[in-house]
């Protein structure tokens, strides 16, 4: 055990220590050892919640950077995001604060955005959306209930009548009684018209506005009976339509408040029938909304899923409400 040997050991030992400190530094500060490569983006929120410096920034679940700084800027809170230089973020990408884990570790979730949109430049501000926490979800559910109640109330007014005014059904009865002869006479013509309609000849607008078909329309009284039943249900399917009916606007309104317009009824009924068929088959956006209950299934999942699903419901609240009612009536 000579002195030189000891000196060599001490030297080796010291170098080992320096190396270990460096390793610890490099691994624990995520390569910040190299003066944090990457570029910055600014994300403004009303509320940063539990977000803090060093939290992850993830795009579609993949970590692409970290929160470098959180600060107050005027009337909002800003998070400065340090993004991996190899990652390009579309300028229409949306950032929101997500939470992972039981203990509420937060992260910034950025969606993929659209393809072909120019990437955000360093220092730019990214679009953000507020993510719901439990409080907002509850508030939105309450609002939704209120809207549903209102929609159902006005619907019943229309159907039953209000303040001595006759309701839709009384008016329809009167209309049919007064025109029963004419209705019988137009039966045949109306049959032809409906055939044509089914074959898709001409546009509905033309058909309805053509004065030559007036008599034939009146003759199709028996069809009208069936159609009124359809009309009744379809009319109730949209609050907006009902409102317009009440105020005498649009073709349905005219039909009810203007006897002369009775002839339009059949055409509208057929049109509406078509729409409701599509709805029932689940075609179109509204139909999907009514028939696809996956949003509700998601809502029963994790807290995070519920958050997202209810967020979606919040946006389409009135439509969904009407959809639910319409589904029940059909």
């Amino acid at each position: 055990m000579t002195t030189t040997q000891n000196t060599a050991r001490v030297g080796l030992f010291f170098l080992l220590g320096v190396a270990l400190v460096w390793v610890a530094y490099a691994t624990l500060s995520d390569g910040k050892a190299l003066k944090s490569r990457g570029y910055n983006l600014v994300a403004g929120f009303d509320n940063l919640k539990e977000l803090k410096q060093g939290d992850d920034v993830r795009m579609a679940g993949v970590k692409i950077g970290s929160v470098q700084e959180t600060r107050l800027a005027g009337r909002r809170a800003e998070a400065v995001l340090r993004i991996d230089p190899t990652v390009k973020i579309s300028s229409d990408a949306l950032a929101m604060i997500g939470s992972a884990g039981l203990l509420g570790t937060n992260y910034i979730a950025i969606d993929l955005g659209s393809a072909g949109v120019p990437a955000l430049a360093p220092g730019a501000e990214i679009r953000t959306t507020a993510s719901a926490d439990l409080n907002t979800i509850m508030t939105q559910l309450g609002e939704l209930g209120g809207k549903l109640e209102g929609a159902l109330g006005s619907m019943s007014e229309v159907l039953k009548g209000k303040d001595g005014q006759p309701g839709i059904f009384q008016r329809l009865d009167a209309l049919l009684a007064n025109n029963s002869a004419k209705v019988d006479a137009t039966m045949t013509s109306l049959q032809q018209v409906t055939d044509k309609l089914n074959r898709g000849e001409g546009t509905l607008g033309k058909l309805i506005n053509d004065p030559k078909l007036h008599d034939e329309l009146l003759a199709a009284a028996s069809d009208l009976k069936a159609a009124t039943a359809d009309a009744r249900t379809i009319m109730t399917s949209a609050q907006g339509i009902v409102e317009r009916v009440k105020s005498g606007q649009g073709s349905l309104g005219t039909l009810i408040y203007d006897e002369q317009a009775g002839k339009d009824l059949k055409a509208i009924a057929a049109n509406l029938k078509d729409v409701s068929d599509k709805l029932a088959k689940g075609e179109g956006t509204l139909g999907k909304l009514i028939n696809d209950d996956s949003l509700f299934r998601e809502a029963q999942g994790t807290l995070r899923k519920a958050d997202r699903a209810l967020d979606g419901m919040g946006d389409s609240g009135p439509i969904t409400a009407v959809g639910v009612v319409a589904g029940a009536l059909f």
């Binding site: 000891n6 000196t7 001490v10 030992f13 220590g17």
Partner: protein
């Protein structure tokens, strides 16, 4: 009253010793062999016990954390618990305590016997200040060696925790998960924090032990008393300093 004066004398004498030793710092390059010898004694020979102890401290931490966290399904946070507590607290603290027990006692014994057998007086008459050749190399060596010992203690402790968390049946935590949470919650600042603490502890322990050793008076019996006193004072100071350092570094 007498004891209070003795304590104040001890503090004053220690500070004077520090000032004198630091004043001789320019002579350090000439004392390289002595410095190396102290590095060897303080650092290299202390490594085995530091490794063994920190391995088991990390293991016990993982075991205790696993036992209590397993019941509410947070066992993947064992990594962060072991990582943070080793880096911030137990690593530096344990190395300092081992240093007091192993190196501090040896320093106190050596200097006390040099004092009792008049070797220190001989140095003084030879116009070689004891602070220069006895205290300065030790202080310099502990400054250089303490971070090395502490970082090794941290890493060994972390691996000890990982091994225990993985191999104990009721925890059975994958090392990948362990190190994932460890990395997520332990920042280099925490490690650096611990290294600063260790540096202060080590410096104070060596200074105190030198001071007590050099202030021994009387016969050979006093050597044992000096060692006991040096270790006890060192341990108390480590714990007291730990509180204030933790508070100021938070």
């Amino acid at each position: 009253m007498k004891q209070l004066i003795a304590i104040l004398e001890g503090i004053g004498g220690t500070l004077r010793l520090l000032v004198r030793a630091v004043a001789f710092a320019p002579t350090l390059p000439r004392q390289l062999p002595r410095f190396m010898e102290q590095c060897y004694q303080i650092g290299y020979t202390t490594l085995p016990i530091v490794s063994i102890l920190s391995f088991f401290i990390g293991g016990v931490l993982a075991l205790q954390a696993g036992y209590s966290m397993e019941s509410f399904g947070a066992k993947e946070f064992i990594g962060s618990l072991v990582g943070l507590s080793m880096a911030r607290e137990l690593g530096p603290m344990m190395v300092a305590i081992l240093l007091a027990g192993r190196v501090g006692s040896a320093i106190a014994a050596e200097l006390a016997s040099m004092k009792v057998y008049q070797e220190v007086d001989a140095l003084v008459t030879m116009n070689i200040p004891p602070e220069r050749i006895l205290v300065l190399p030790r202080l310099a060596a502990v400054i250089v060696m303490m971070p090395v010992l502490t970082i090794i203690a941290n890493l060994v402790g972390w691996f000890g925790g990982a091994i225990v968390a993985h191999s104990v049946d009721f925890i059975a935590l994958e090392p990948e998960k362990y190190f994932e949470t460890l990395r997520r919650f332990t920042k280099f600042e925490d490690v650096a924090n611990g290294l600063i603490k260790a540096e202060v502890f080590g410096f104070v322990v060596v200074l105190i032990c030198c001071s007590i050793g050099l202030n021994t008076r009387g016969g050979p019996r006093e050597i044992g008393a000096a060692v006991t006193k040096a270790v006890v004072v060192s341990l108390i100071l480590i714990l007291v300093l730990d509180y204030f350092l933790t508070q100021s570094l938070l």
